[in-house]
């Protein structure tokens, strides 16, 4: 009996604890009937809390009413993308059928297909043994179907009215530039302001200073339907104790350092096929190799800018250059691309894992479960702070490789058919103004800063960073007084980081999906075989002493055609991805097995 009572008392305590420890939430003056705003976002609770609260207060101050922000959190960018396309397709289908129109086969895909051809119907080829009449009939049917699809496609993109159709969500906030570009191409987002009617002082101040650039160092920071409001860079986080245990004295500060064989089995990496942002970081690694190879070939920064401008102006097929550009220039880029792929392979060979969650890497590095890894800046800086001991020493550190990372943005975009359009547009404006930007950078409790959580993200507005312009410099100094990080630090200031890096989309942008596919085939699908081959090479004296084995290891796939800078984008565009992945994976597995066999033979011969 006593035991039973004891257990029931314990049960009562367990159940009561959350009630006893409950803290009252932030008091809100919002009441039913006041405006609401619905935002879908992969941002965490800290961002959602601070922006929800601050926007409500800002709105009350400027428009007289508080706003309740209804955040929809359903996971990461890939889940959100899937959810939005499914919601829009479903809503558009009901709307289209309600207008008495037919919903033809393939309408769901056509609706959100950025490359849907509205000019010409699909070109059919006659099947073997197909009669003229049958072919003509099939052609007519397909053309009729295409006409309906075209009408639907155009009507969908011409309609932005929640009474017609809507995903019942106003804004997409967060995710990378890649996700917003994709949403734009799918027709899911719209421009908040008509052309030429952007709010005064928001993008350009009264004196004509650009406060929010369209792009910087080749990176897009805003388009008509999305607006970057915080910055991400990619870099290396590392655990000092683990490095010491591995005998690595030099702290890594460039991507090449991660290819050091002493990192074998000790790198934490994220899977580029699951996130556009992570894929972007791997693209930066390859991009830097292209740049380095050009510099080694003797081309200066000025020449690079000049030749790229000439190539862009000539509008030639990929890889062709006008007579004013030396052939060696293009050859260096192609060689650099191959070096970049080899570097990815060697970094991949050192991987302990490729995780689906980018935030896992800095956590593991902080615990010493991985010695180093590729991480997004704010995740790593935050995590490093938790490793600080009583003497103030942080056992983990983060560095953005100079010249090895672009400055990509996290945008906010207005969704088509937003039910609370006006409020949504005000929210976009709020996030881009000082009031919203302070939330990213300021310490909690500072004037205009977050209330509870330090977000420690890098704002985008020019006035937050040092400048030669005395007005901007003064604004920067004021902001920097309250910032959680030193915004003048050239490792944090995106405008300074951009000075060391110019993104040339021509070099690597069209290879985006090829990079992911290659990494998946050579490093993930063949992970075990790669590590075995790499271990065998290291045991046999390392890459320098085993050139034959390295040549086998680094060979690029030959099917469906030899992979080169020129062929890779075409393969991804024209071939079935499933077949390509199978062929490439089998290719790499066979090559890696060959390396192991070769070195075993050498060992046997000795």
């Amino acid at each position: 009996m006593k035991r039973n009572i004891a257990i029931l008392v314990i049960a009562a305590i367990v159940i009561a604890l959350p009630f006893l420890m409950r803290r009252p939430g932030e008091r809100s003056t919002w009441k039913p009937g006041d405006p609401e705003l619905i935002i879908i976002s992969p941002h965490n609770e800290a961002v959602r809390f601070e922006f929800g609260l601050a926007f409500s207060r800002w709105h009350k101050e400027h428009y007289g009413q508080p706003v309740r922000v209804d955040w929809r959190a359903i996971g990461g960018s890939s889940e959100i993308s899937r959810y939005l396309t499914s919601s829009f397709t479903s809503a558009a289908r009901a709307w289209w059928l309600g207008r008495g129109r037919e919903w033809p086969i393939g309408a769901g895909n056509a609706l959100i297909n950025p490359a849907f051809n509205t000019q010409n119907p699909p070109h059919l080829t006659r099947a073997e043994n197909e009669s003229d009449a049958d072919f003509a009939q099939r052609n007519a049917q397909e053309t009729a179907r295409w006409e309906t699809l075209r009408d639907l496609y155009l009507a969908f993109r011409a309609t932005d009215d929640p009474d017609q159709f809507s995903a019942r969500i106003d804004l997409l906030m967060g995710g990378g530039d890649f996700d917003h570009k994709m949403a734009r191409g799918q027709g899911l987002t719209v421009s908040p302001w008509p052309n030429g009617q952007r709010p005064a002082g928001l993008f350009i101040d009264d004196a004509g200073r650009v406060m929010l650039p369209d792009s910087i160092a080749g990176e897009t920071w805003q388009a008509d339907t999305y607006f970057g409001n915080t910055i991400s860079t990619f870099g290396i986080c590392y655990n000092r104790d683990r490095l010491r245990d591995l005998g690595i004295d030099k702290l890594p500060d460039q991507w090449e350092d991660l290819a050091d064989p002493r990192f074998a089995h000790n790198l934490g990496l994220a899977d580029p096929t699951k996130s556009g942002s992570i894929a972007k970081s791997f693209e930066m690694i390859v991009h830097q190799q292209c740049y380095n190879t050009l510099r080694e070939a003797g081309f200066s920064d000025d020449e690079i800018d000049r030749y790229e401008a000439a190539i862009a102006a000539a509008s030639l097929p990929a890889g062709d250059v006008p007579p004013t550009v030396p052939a060696a220039y293009q050859a260096a880029i192609e060689e650099g691309w191959i070096k970049g792929v080899h570097l990815l392979q060697r970094i991949g060979a050192n991987a302990r894992y490729f995780t689906d969650s980018a935030s896992k890497v800095p956590i593991d590095v902080s615990m010493g479960a991985a010695a180093a890894g590729v991480a997004i800046d704010y995740y790593a800086r935050f995590q490093a702070q938790t490793t600080r001991d009583e003497s103030g020493r942080e056992r983990m550190d983060y560095i953005t490789p100079i010249g090895g990372s672009g400055v990509s943005c996290d945008p906010v975009g207005l969704l088509r058919g937003a039910p609370n359009r006006d409020i949504a547009v005000r929210f976009i404006e709020f996030t881009l103004r000082d009031e919203g930007q302070k939330l990213w950078a300021y310490k909690p409790g500072t004037p205009g800063g977050p209330v509870k959580f330090a977000l420690r993200r890098i704002p985008i507005r020019r006035s937050f960073f040092p400048s030669d312009d005395p007005v901007i410099q003064k604004q920067h100094e004021e902001h920097n007084r309250y910032a959680a990080d030193n915004l003048a630090d050239p490792r944090i200031n995106p405008y300074a980081i951009a000075e060391h890096f110019t993104y040339h989309p021509r070099w690597t942008a069209s290879h985006f999906s090829a990079h992911s596919a290659l990494i998946r085939a050579m490093c993930l699908n063949a992970a075990q075989e790669l590590q075995e081959a790499w271990t065998a090479i290291l045991r046999a004296g390392g890459p320098d002493r085993q050139p034959e084995a390295m040549a086998i290891l680094q060979a690029l796939p030959e099917k469906p055609e030899p992979v080169t800078w020129r062929s890779a984008p075409k393969i991804m565009r024209t071939q079935n991805r499933l077949d390509v992945m199978r062929d490439w994976t089998l290719f790499y597995r066979a090559r890696y097995a060959q390396v192991v066999a070769l070195l075993k033979n050498h060992e046997g011969a000795r």
Partner: protein
């Protein structure tokens, strides 16, 4: 059972199953077959033509074989010891032995890492260098971790099955000279086969499709991880849906094979529950010897839980290169339990899980009745289909329910009615879909438990009641359900515990914070950069404590001794 009535139940349960499970599943899985406006089997055949995916299926199969074997090897001796002996501490270990199944999501991996990582507690305790246990072990690591998490399922079923055996059978065997292992092999084992089959199939299919453990161990060459990778990939790839279909078909096939080989022989006992089996009391050294295997299994299986508990009490960053955290704090609990939405998420989880288990019990008993007590053609199909929810990746079902909700909520009658919006539009209120998702995904536990109970209970008891004039519902209430209560409690507890710990459906369907279940709150806390893992661990520990207390309290409320709860 009246034939017309059984047909009615068969049709009813099949219809519910089709609408609530196969329809949402079909809306997603058809993506692997209906591509660019055409039906195609290209992706389905692609699974078999592609050696990478074939290898994934083979490895998943091997993981399932290894895990089920290890689980059986752990569970049967423990269940046998529980049933045969009274030993010191039996009441406590009988309860604690179930707790490993309630490891909270997300933070469980942190628990492993803190204990088994290079700078984790184990290396510090043994004075070893930075050995990376999690990075080194692959197949055997996954099998061991899965077995240590899943053995309670088999233990529950084996224990219930063994408790249901009429001791007169074994006594009769002993009188005829059949003793020791021979008696166990010839009498006990065949009589408990329905329970073993029930537990074994759940463990087998679970480990065949398990995602979490292979991800923790970075074992990527198995089908579940391949599906996960493809589903999370940017872009719209039809392939994972074809692979999901193959996994489902394989699960059904393996289940059918298992049933053919093992499950067909069910021996019902006339006098089940008429007498309780006798247990021998062992004390002193012999008592400790009996206790030892329990203590060993619990200690090892508890490793990640201890990791999570210690993390929840650690000052951030202070558990590093040491056996335990160097600085303790209760701040993580203050943050987690004081968090604004913690209470509402607890309330939501209780609501969703309780409703789901209630629905499960009704549906599970109905399906079990059709399977065991009727001779309708197609009942075998229903039997196999009822196992399918175990094999479906959580993300796939969540996408399916989202698609169904989106389609329904875009109709005029829903758009124009607040009532229907609250019921059917997950954006407004996800309760209905979450309850359906929870109950359907946990249905196999209830069905298997109820089937095992019915198979062990002779139909003659119901027939005797019928001869005395009892109608169907009276027979159910007075005879059948009391006789299978042990099995229903076993299934219900599993269903409740795993519903409380359900992840994918809650993440996708509960989009607004007022509807978050507790697992989504743990996820939200985990996402807080820097301190998230510590605060989320604190809430995870609370969830573990709550479920442990629930399991123990359940036995108290039933007025039975702990450990004897699974006896009829």
């Amino acid at each position: 059972m009246n034939r017309a009535f059984s047909r009615f139940i068969f049709l009813g349960t099949s219809l519910i199953f089709i609408v609530l499970f196969l329809a949402p599943l079909g809306t997603v899985v058809q993506g692997g077959f209906w591509v660019n406006g055409k039906w195609t089997f290209r992706y389905l055949f692609g699974v078999f033509q592609n050696p990478i995916y074939f290898e994934g299926l083979r490895n998943s199969f091997l993981l399932a074989i290894g895990t089920t074997t290890l689980v059986t090897a752990i569970s049967i001796p423990l269940a046998w010891l529980t049933n045969r002996y009274d030993f010191p501490g039996k009441k406590w270990v009988s309860a604690l032995i179930l707790v490993p199944m309630i490891l909270p999501p997300f933070v469980g991996a942190i628990g492993f890492q803190q204990v088994l990582g290079p700078y984790g507690g184990l290396n510090a305790l043994l004075g070893l260098g930075p050995i990376d246990w999690l990075g080194r072990l692959q197949y055997w690591g996954v099998v061991s971790l899965q077995a240590l998490a899943l053995y309670p399922i088999m233990y529950l079923n084996a224990n219930a099955a063994m408790a249901n055996i009429d001791p007169a059978m074994e006594e009769a065997a002993a009188n005829l000279g059949c003793k020791g292992f021979q008696k166990f092999r010839r009498i006990t084992l065949p009589l408990m086969m329905p329970g073993l089959f029930a537990g074994g199939t759940i463990v087998f299919i679970w480990s065949f499709t398990e995602l979490g453990t292979p991800l923790i161990m970075n074992y990527t060459k198995c089908a579940s991880v391949q599906v996960f990778d493809a589903l999370k990939e940017v872009g719209n790839n039809p392939f994972p849906y074809a692979l999901v279909f193959v996994m489902l078909a394989s699960s059904v096939l393996l289940y059918a094979l298992g049933k053919f080989a093992l499950g067909g022989k069910a021996y019902a006992m006339q006098s089940k529950a008429a007498t309780a089996s006798t247990t021998r009391s062992v004390r002193g050294l012999r008592g400790l010897l009996v206790l030892l295997p329990f203590a060993a299994v619990i200690l090892v299986a508890f490793t990640p839980h201890l990791g999570v508990i210690a993390t929840s009490l650690a000052k951030p960053g202070s558990w590093y290169q040491s056996v335990l955290p160097q600085h303790f704090t209760l701040n993580n609990y203050t943050e987690a339990l004081g968090y604004e939405i913690t209470i509402s998420s607890i309330r939501n989880s209780l609501l969703y899980s309780s409703l789901a288990v209630t629905f499960n019990a009704v549906l599970g008993i109905a399906i079990a009745f059709v399977i065991v007590r009727s001779d309708i053609r197609g009942r075998g199909v229903l039997d196999a289909l009822a196992m399918l929810p175990l094999a479906v990746p959580g993300l796939v079902m969540a996408f399916g329910y989202l698609a169904i909700s989106a389609n329904v909520s875009n109709t005029d009658w829903v758009r124009n009615s607040t009532f229907w919006q609250n019921l059917l539009d997950v954006r407004t209120n996800p309760t209905l879909f979450l309850v359906i998702a929870y109950s359907i995904r946990r249905l196999p536990y209830m069905v298997r438990s109820a089937v095992a109970g019915l198979q062990q209970t002779s139909v003659t008891l119901e027939e005797a009641a019928a001869n005395l004039g009892a109608g169907f519902f009276t027979r159910m209430r007075r005879i059948t359900v009391p006789l299978i209560t042990a099995n229903l409690i076993a299934g219900g507890l599993l269903a409740f515990a795993f519903s409380m710990l359900e992840v994918s459906d809650g993440l996708m369907l509960a989009q607004r914070s007022d509807f978050y279940p507790i697992t989504k709150t743990i996820y939200e806390l985990f996402q807080l950069i820097g301190l998230g893992q510590y605060i989320a661990s604190a809430l995870g520990v609370w969830a573990m404590a709550f479920l442990s207390v629930t399991i123990i309290s359940a036995s108290l409320i039933l007025g039975k001794k702990l450990g004897a709860i699974f006896r009829a």
